[in-house]
């Protein structure tokens, strides 16, 4: 073998396989983890602001309690269904 051929042979043994599902899965896992962190970082301020707003509005809500109580369950259910539909639609369109 010439030195050039030896060099080529030594370089070629380092080349990873063209398809590597384990590597692909590892990257997907890291991206999922990064996405989860980003979601927490972006939603945490909203959650904090919402909590603060509710705490501030507590006296008002308490006084409206008897009025809102009959429809509160239905409103919460509607909000939950809407949020689930929105989340599902985003996941499907992203896939």
């Amino acid at each position: 073998m010439t030195p050039e051929e030896k060099l080529d042979a030594l370089f070629s043994v380092q080349t990873p396989p063209a398809r590597d599902l384990a590597f692909r899965a590892a990257v997907a896992e890291r991206i999922a983890r990064r996405r989860a962190v980003l979601q927490v970082v972006t939603t945490a301020p909203v959650a904090v602001a919402g909590t603060a707003a509710l705490w501030g509005l507590q006296p008002v809500l308490a006084s409206l309690g008897p009025v809102l109580a009959p429809s509160a369950t239905a409103l919460a259910l509607c909000a939950l269904v809407a949020a689930a539909a929105l989340w599902t639609a985003r996941r499907v369109s992203a896939a």
């Binding site: 010439t2 060099l7 042979a9 070629s12 380092q14 890291r30």
Partner: protein, 179 residues
């Protein structure tokens, strides 16, 4: 029509939020990125593969900054190269550590173990820039222009790095100095 999507199409879909498209880009370019890092970074392959994963995550996060979607391969290599430079600067690296890059590799037929070690030592002694140029142009067959674009080095520098690196590696394998 109906054939494999181009890199530009996959980038567009990934930018729109498709994880499947980005995963296809990973599959398409992982061998080049990992091979480049294995040869350039030195150390064990696990470290190079770990850095390659980081490079792909960075690419996913900054996909909107890619100006030419068709040139995604060079762009990915550029990200990997910058990460490799940070890693090389950040770690205390010695020739012995950098030499590990071939220690776990089987010796190909026609090459002696001494030659394998000699090449590993010669590769470890090359400057990181030179090693990167050698890895792309000699090992992966990139043109000098492509390597220049990916590594952010002037074309003349890439050409001289490749020539110098090749000469040193060939001498280590028993070739002449002017090879």
């Amino acid at each position: 029509m109906g054939g494999l999507p181009t890199d530009a199409e996959l980038v567009d879909r990934a930018r729109a939020g498709s994880d499947a498209a980005f995963s296809t880009l990973v599959e398409r370019h992982q061998a080049v990125v990992r091979g480049f890092l294995r040869r350039t970074l030195g150390g064990g392959w696990a470290e190079a593969d770990d850095l390659a994963q980081e490079a792909f995550v960075t690419a996913w996060r900054t996909l909107d900054r890619l100006e030419e979607p068709g040139a995604v391969r060079s762009w990915l290599l550029g990200i990997a190269w910058r990460k490799a430079q940070d890693r090389i600067r950040g770690a205390r690296r010695g020739a012995a550590r950098d030499r590990q890059w071939l220690d776990s590799v089987e010796t190909p037929a026609g090459v002696s173990n001494e030659e394998r070690l000699a090449l590993a030592a010669a590769m470890a002694e090359l400057a990181p820039d030179v090693r990167a140029c050698v890895a792309l142009c000699l090992a992966d067959g990139w043109s000098h222009g492509e390597a220049s674009m990916a590594l952010g080095l002037p074309l003349g520098t890439v050409k001289s790095h490749v020539a110098r690196g090749r000469a040193r590696l060939l001498v280590a394998l028993g070739g002449s100095d002017d090879a």
